[in-house]
């Protein structure tokens, strides 16, 4: 018994540490976790994350706008996701979520966004890639320009030459991506657009220097041949969504649509890669359409949050009172376990983190009822054993061990449904369904711990102290 007793006390210590730790996480204004230990860098704010339905926001399911029988290239889809992420980051949303769902869908969640229409436009559009005629103006990468967008050109053709980038185009040129001045001044003629491009790649030239290659389709080749022939020595710029990517001097006319961009000393690999990606994917590699969208205004969300929190509090209080009245002394212990349960679960929400939605809160409140179920099973069993004339200590131990198979089997079946719901919710970007499954499932797991380990530790300790002697205390 001596070692058992020690183990129980040690367990109590663990429970207290855990509860206090969880309470610290729960309290508003904790500093979060910031660990910098050699290679380990952890920076996490610990706070409850509210889902779209609680703080307002936008949830969009984008689908590849291709015929259903056409298989969608996984790499292209991945690239599309990355581009959307880039565009979304430009919107300044805190904690956006952009993820692939299945082989042809992308889920975008933007909490707290104020102008959903603009947001959809921003990331949904298939960016416009253009090649413009800059004449003798050198345009700094990042500058915003006005273009004709319409391709129309007819100039005489002169034979083969090749293009070399202007020497100014080196990394020393200050890159100013923050150029947000209203485009004014000249309207530049568009020579080609992204649809004329059939491929782009980075390659090594004669001296092992990095250069960029791209191919044009027949229409593009013809246009480009005519254009380059008439404008040797002038500048042509690559423009994506009206923003200059790079400029190059035309050295020769190019008749066959096979274009090479070189630079003295070669391109730095990162820059070349960047340009190639924009050439290749500047337009979203896969056209998308908005399949599903949901927006919730912030006022509706705030109202729902207040109400469900109140409901949760009332539900919890009712359960606590009920347990105390019906099961007396063990009921009190179950109530303590229940409070620890609530504290731990909320801490886990902040830690994992679980994005809290309205049905998620319902899942949590429901799991409070279930957390108590394990205790009820155990206590009913204890009462039976007491009525059968067993001693207190034996009745407590048997109450736990005999109730365990029911608790295990019944909770496992709930976990099965949670898993299926979670899978269903993830597949369609229905974050509400996912939130419910996650909070309910988490609640089931944590409640097994608190209802069994925590309550049992308390009961054992108190029985050892020999203060509880009457069966009446157990409601028998």
């Amino acid at each position: 018994m001596f070692t058992d007793r020690h183990r129980t006390v040690a367990l109590l210590g663990c429970i207290i540490v855990l509860a206090l730790g969880a309470a610290w996480v729960d309290l508003p204004g904790n500093p979060g976790i910031h660990i910098h230990l050699g290679p380990i860098n952890v920076d996490r704010d610990l706070e409850l994350r509210r889902g779209l339905d609680l703080q307002g926001g936008l949830e969009v399911l984008l689908e590849a706008d291709l015929p259903a029988e056409e298989t969608v290239d996984a790499a292209a889809m991945q690239a599309t996701r990355a581009i959307i992420e880039q565009r979304v980051n430009g919107l300044g949303v805190s904690e956006p979520l952009i993820q692939l769902s299945g082989s042809r869908r992308i889920i975008v969640e933007l909490p707290g966004i104020e102008d959903p229409e603009r947001a959809i436009e921003t990331f949904g559009e298939t960016g416009l890639l253009e090649f413009i005629h800059a004449g003798y103006d050198y345009l700094i990468p990042g500058a915003v320009v006005t273009t004709t967008e319409e391709v129309s050109l007819a100039t005489p053709v002169t034979p083969t030459v090749m293009i070399t980038a202007t020497p100014e185009l080196t990394p020393t040129v200050p890159l100013t991506p923050s150029v947000s001045v209203e485009p004014e001044g000249p309207v530049y003629q568009t020579i080609l657009t992204g649809r004329h491009l059939t491929g782009a790649a980075m390659d090594f030239g004669e001296l092992g220097l990095i250069e960029i290659h791209f191919q044009l389709n027949d229409e593009g080749a013809a246009l480009f041949a005519a254009y380059t022939a008439g404008n040797v020595g002038q500048l042509m710029c690559i423009v994506l969504d009206k923003e200059v990517v790079s400029c190059a001097t035309i050295n020769q006319a190019i008749p066959d649509g096979k274009v090479r961009i070189t630079r003295e000393g070669g391109f730095p690999p990162e820059e070349a890669e960047d340009i190639v990606i924009r050439l290749r994917y500047g337009a979203l590699p896969i056209p998308l359409r908005v399949e599903t969208s949901r927006t919730v205004g912030p006022t509706l969300g705030e109202d729902s949050l207040q109400k469900s929190l109140l409901a949760g509090l009332i539900g919890l209080t009712t359960v606590i009172v009920f347990m105390l009245l019906y099961y007396r002394f063990p009921g009190l212990l179950a109530d303590v376990a229940l409070v620890i349960y609530a504290v731990v679960v909320v801490a886990l929400y902040e830690f994992i983190p679980v994005v809290l939605t309205l049905p998620g809160i319902a899942g949590f409140i429901l799991s409070v009822g279930m957390a108590v179920d394990a205790n009820i099973l155990i206590f009913e069993r204890m009462k039976e054993e007491l009525r059968a004339g067993k001693g207190l200590r034996l009745a407590v131990e048997q109450g736990f061990s005999r109730a365990w198979p029911s608790i295990r089997d019944s909770n496992f079946s709930t976990l099965i449904t949670c898993a299926i719901l979670f899978w269903f919710g993830s597949y369609f970007g229905a974050s509400v369904v996912k939130g419910f499954a996650l909070t309910l499932g988490l609640g089931v797991v944590v409640s097994m711990f608190t209802a069994i380990i925590v309550t049992r530790t308390f009961l054992r300790l108190i029985i050892d102290l020999d203060v509880v002697k009457h069966h009446r205390w157990f409601g028998v």
Binding site: T295, A311, L366, G369, V372, D373, E384, S410, I420, L421
Partner: protein
């Protein structure tokens, strides 16, 4: 001592009284699926306090944009809920601008839009999810009760109780869909699956006690073992039920409108789950032992093709005990065809 098993036919009757109207409504009217399953748009807007807007005006405005079959509901605080075919972002903006022009400033509270293809897919997948959950649970129960004789019976009885609860909830949704325009959305599906989980949860607790008692009282008649087990777990069943009812009622009363239907579905489903585990699942174990033909008859009536196959099989291969069941079985199948066929015919007569 309470004799639940002895009075089981009364409890079956109560179940039938609850389930049958829902079942009839389900066949006659089906379910009122929301845009989650059918595709379409739902726009919730609030107009300024002084604006006097009538739903018909809003409907007319949508009609001008080619959205003829739009449903407009108004509620307190000048809030309008507008359901229409799938609106794209531009059309929605145009319509909102037009509404502002005609009715004054508006605030967009919520906008949901689901493309028709996704809607259909969600619907298909929803059926799959329910079937998957049922299958997984059947397998789990058969596994958990593998040391008992006839473990599949336990699984099957839990599934029957589960189907009972599904029918209660879905039937209710169908009836309320007709009476109050209730919609079946993805949250309803969530509630349904939770009810499934709970239903099985409750059945397992009682079964677990039966499993334990049949070892302890080996040799006693099954009626006594089952009844004793149900009584022993009754306190627990009722108390657990009560705590869940407390929490859900709090949510129902104070939790806000958005999830009210969801919580109500959960509440009713969970009450039904406790009832079915006590009064259906456990007595059915007795039934299976004593009068299995009754189960076969009911199944034949509800699913006539099964009745046909079973009836013919019994006629050809049945033992001395089971051969006489064949006739009744086929009769039940016939009755089922007539009943379901009659309802379907009636459904054809109802204007949609």
């Amino acid at each position: 001592m309470l004799d639940i098993v002895g009075k089981r036919y009364w409890y079956y009757l109560i179940s039938a009284i609850v389930v049958v109207p829902g079942l009839i409504s389900l066949i006659l009217f089906g379910l009122n699926f929301s845009i989650d399953f059918t595709g379409g748009s739902m726009l919730e807007v609030q107009f300024g306090e002084s604006a006097a807007v009538h739903p018909a005006q809003v409907k007319e405005l949508f009609g001008e944009y080619g959205f003829g079959d739009t449903v407009v509901q108004s509620s307190q605080g000048n809030v309008f809920l507008i359901r229409s075919k799938t609106l794209d972002s531009e059309t929605k903006m145009a319509i909102e601008d037009e509404m502002e022009k005609r009715f004054g400033t508006l605030t967009e509270l919520r906008f949901e839009s689901v493309g028709p293809s996704v809607g259909g897919e969600v619907q298909r997948r929803a059926y799959m999810v329910v079937a998957l959950a049922a299958g997984a649970i059947l397998i789990y129960i058969s596994f958990a009760f593998r040391h008992v004789s006839n473990p599949v019976r336990y699984g099957a009885c839990a599934i029957i109780a589960m189907v009972h609860d599904i029918l209660v909830v879905v039937g209710l949704a169908s009836i309320l869909g007709v009476l109050h325009g209730w919609e079946v959305d993805s949250l309803f599906l969530t509630a349904l699956l939770t009810v499934i989980g709970f239903s099985v949860h409750d059945s397992i607790v009682v079964f677990d006690r039966i499993r334990e008692n049949s070892k302890r009282y080996a040799g006693s008649p099954i009626e006594d073992v089952v009844n004793h087990s149900v009584i022993q777990t009754l306190d627990r069943s009722i108390n657990t039920q009560l705590t869940v009812v407390f929490t859900l009622s709090a949510l129902l009363l104070y939790g806000g409108v958005t999830i009210r239907n969801f919580v109500l579905t959960l509440l009713i489903g969970i009450i039904s789950g406790t009832y079915s585990s006590i009064f259906n699942a456990s007595p059915l174990l007795v039934e299976w032992e004593r009068r299995p033909e009754l189960l076969i008859y009911v199944l034949s009536f509800l699913v006539p093709p099964v009745g046909l196959v079973v009836g013919i099989y019994l006629l050809l291969k049945g033992s001395g005990r089971s051969r006489p069941w064949a006739k009744v079985c086929l009769l039940c199948a016939l009755g089922g065809v007539v009943a379901i066929g009659g309802l379907l015919l009636l459904r054809g007569l109802i204007p949609s």
